[in-house]
Symmetry: C2
Subunit: 461 residues, 2 copies
């Protein structure tokens, strides 16, 4: 991505992505559910839990299908908000091979020593909007992007300290010292690979959806285990938390028009043409109207964490760049998330104003050192799309985990059952931990990843 | 500040600030030490501590001079790095009057009830560079800017919840509800006033230095007490910490080219013309050279928290936008801080490249609720310029505070003596807490603000 790219693709005046691709149109991305759900379904082979509800069954993998680390998974489609379940999920083993860098004898040696390859695991949730296509492409693609990105820098991962030069040559004798002084560790190279993989996947989605004439975008939440660490990369409003016997720890934070207000307002300040005179970049407690003209009202601009007052001018009556509160907050009146993949052709309704310039595809990555953590038998990571977190707090989910797992140690399907239970508790079918019943009308997808069993896990991409 | 302003003033091609102001030149800003040091000095009236060193005396206010809350202050000039002490300090009472908003009867009522005015206190440190002028103007001005900004919004400060409309009128019946939903509190309006005051002061410095033909900039660290809260606003690399019997808590974080790397690289990505083809915005572990061409080396771009590898091209050999490590890190090879006041005419040596577009004058503000804190007798805030923190860690300073204060409860000058002791311990004249001797070659200025005595404090602007 270069500044030229940004200006060409995203600024008014530059050539816009063509509304229809030239040449023959590729066939649409086919709708599907995650591969590891094959053989489940609400017909024969459905789990007990899913059979209990006919109209909107909770789906989980068939009993014989073991996910990496024996993780549990469950999902439910929304209450007729859309025809398809716009959530997607993916998981499996990541096999990282050494790249072809270096001399030929190295290659031969590699063939003899296949154990030099790195193996990791991967779990991902994608929450689509504007159609299911982007989430499906992401679920089909992101792990391959990540594998490719990791393989391109694998020499930087296997050393204690990544070499300045990928070939290992020291152009400058004190190269290792420079890397040391910057504090660059192997995990920083994994984080860099995750950041690059998200961007590469975003570009794949652009190409595939442009070719098939489809639209849409998705959030992405990914957990990757590699060399004793768990990396959680998030772009959007899904969430991952660590639950232990006496601890609940967020492993991601959400990216919405509200949480990224200053970054978004800043871009509109620097490139006002992105708003085409239709929006105001300023934030007010509510949308202003004619009666407010000349009054001094509360406002915030891009450089402010606090609030101040300003005399209302006519331009302040325009629709706000970020409007609404909490779940209702929208970017350009259009989108509820500020990071994710896709949305390359998303326009504000009835205008030519693009949303994509304000979106980031790059995730925020947090790292959990599993060796340091010394996970106990009931320690899990819960990953879920926003449908779950809209009705359950981190603490409520943690209490359900802490209540369910200790009593079910003998059940090898307990993580799957826990995932189903979490989903059921968003459907008003089971009392919440406080006796109340919460209802989510969104798609909901949940992974429960046990950290203790990571050495015994199977694979099931 | 508007986008047009940004482009006009700061982008190549727009009219640059004229190198010489039109009309008669104003006289230079006169050099001075803080007003509250009058009557001290290393001659007669000097404190015992300052008399101990002849060449570079530690200066503190004269014994009769009481600073707000009985705060201690001490300073020392650098070891001949510059002719003047480029640090400046200021403190005093802040008297906030109600603005003339509202009907006339309100005005009359106000005259009868002067106790309705707000009173606060103010302590500030400014660390100048490129000459003492900017820091002197800031020390003379910032408190007035803050008073003006607070007075402009005082109706927003005195209510439990700031009104949507400063006049108190509800244009929309549910205005209070909108403000409530956004979670806007009186302290957010103080934060907004601090943000605006820093920007206003930056503009005063621009005008005054342009008129007098002087140059330079400064950092700014300000503590303000108002309505039971202590606000710490920081733009630059000074630091404030809270020290209690069993706690050390940072109240500010530093803004340097390293800590603000992504923001700075992002601006260079969006406006590459700011680098005039002379710099690369990419970060590498060391400056690249010809031998690196074609190699794959570690790098970071604006969107990356992690590191990746790239093939070195010729443009990567340019001087890096941010270069050097720790204390040596520089923005455009020129400046060690990324936020502060002034520097409007600062150019990269021998070029026309401006540094100011990359600088922010807006501070980060943290809030300490003193009522909640219930300060004990030895609880203090230590504010100091980077000269102190270069050689002493937060924990070392805390240990000195915790060691000195309990044994000196009867001494009414103990906070002043503590400030002097902290300075002495940066001069290699006293053993550090670990037995070692640290030496700072920079100007050093320190406030020690006791939180317990805040009801008994005097004033001394």
């Amino acid at each position: 991505m270069s500044a030229g790219w940004f200006r060409r693709r995203l600024l008014p005046g530059g050539p816009l992505p063509s509304p229809r691709p030239p040449g023959p149109r590729a066939s649409p991305v086919p709708y599907r559910r995650p591969r590891f759900l094959r053989g489940s379904g609400s017909g024969p082979g459905a789990t007990e839990a899913s059979r209990r509800r006919d109209v909107r069954p909770v789906r989980s993998p068939a009993r014989g299908r073991v996910l990496p680390w024996n993780a549990g998974y469950a999902e439910i489609i929304n209450a007729e908000k859309s025809e398809f379940n716009e959530d997607q999920a993916s998981c499996g083993q990541l096999s990282i091979q050494r790249s072809e860098f270096g001399a030929e004898e190295d290659q031969e040696w590699l063939t003899l020593c296949p154990e030099e390859f790195l193996t990791g695991h991967y779990w991902a949730l994608f929450d689509g909007h504007g159609g299911p296509a982007a989430a499906i492409v992401a679920a089909n693609t992101l792990h391959s992007c990540l594998r490719r990105q990791l393989e391109a820098v694998v020499e930087g991962l296997v050393a204690t300290q990544p070499p300045m030069n990928l070939s290992g040559r020291c152009i400058c004798p004190s190269d290792p010292q420079f890397v040391e002084e910057k504090g660059i560790r192997a995990e920083d190279v994994v984080i860099g690979a995750l950041e690059s993989a998200f961007q590469e996947c975003d570009e794949v989605i652009r190409r595939e959806l442009e070719a098939s004439g489809q639209v849409g975008g998705c959030t992405a939440l990914v957990a990757v285990s590699l060399q004793g660490k768990l990396y959680v990369a998030n772009a959007g409003d899904s969430r991952a938390i660590l639950v232990r016997r006496n601890e609940v720890r967020p492993l991601s934070s959400e990216f919405t028009p509200e949480t990224e207000r200053q970054r978004i307002q800043q871009l509109a300040f620097v490139y006002p043409e992105l708003l085409a005179g239709e929006f105001t970049r300023l934030e007010f407690p509510r949308r202003l109207k004619g009666d407010d003209l000349g009054q001094k009202v509360l406002f915030r601009d891009h450089y402010m964490s606090g609030w101040s007052y300003k005399h209302v001018e006519k331009s302040d009556l325009k629709y706000p760049l970020i409007h609404g509160q909490g779940r209702q907050a929208r970017l350009l009146g259009t989108l509820a998330v500020s990071r994710g993949l896709g949305d390359h052709r998303l326009r504000v309704l009835d205008t030519n104003i693009q949303v994509k310039p304000f979106l980031l595809s790059v995730p925020q990555v947090t790292v959990l050192d599993l060796d340091q953590l010394e996970p106990q038998e009931e320690d899990v990571v819960v990953m879920a799309t926003d449908g779950l977190w809209d009705v359950l707090s981190n603490e409520q989910v943690a209490r359900m985990v802490q209540h369910f797992l200790p009593g079910n140690r003998e059940d090898s399907h307990r993580f799957s059952e826990l995932a189903q239970m979490l989903i059921h508790s968003t459907q008003g079918t089971e009392d919440g931990p406080m006796g109340e019943r919460q209802v989510s009308y969104d798609d909901v997808s949940v992974f429960v990843i046990p950290l203790y069993s990571r050495c015994q896990g199977g694979s099931g991409h």
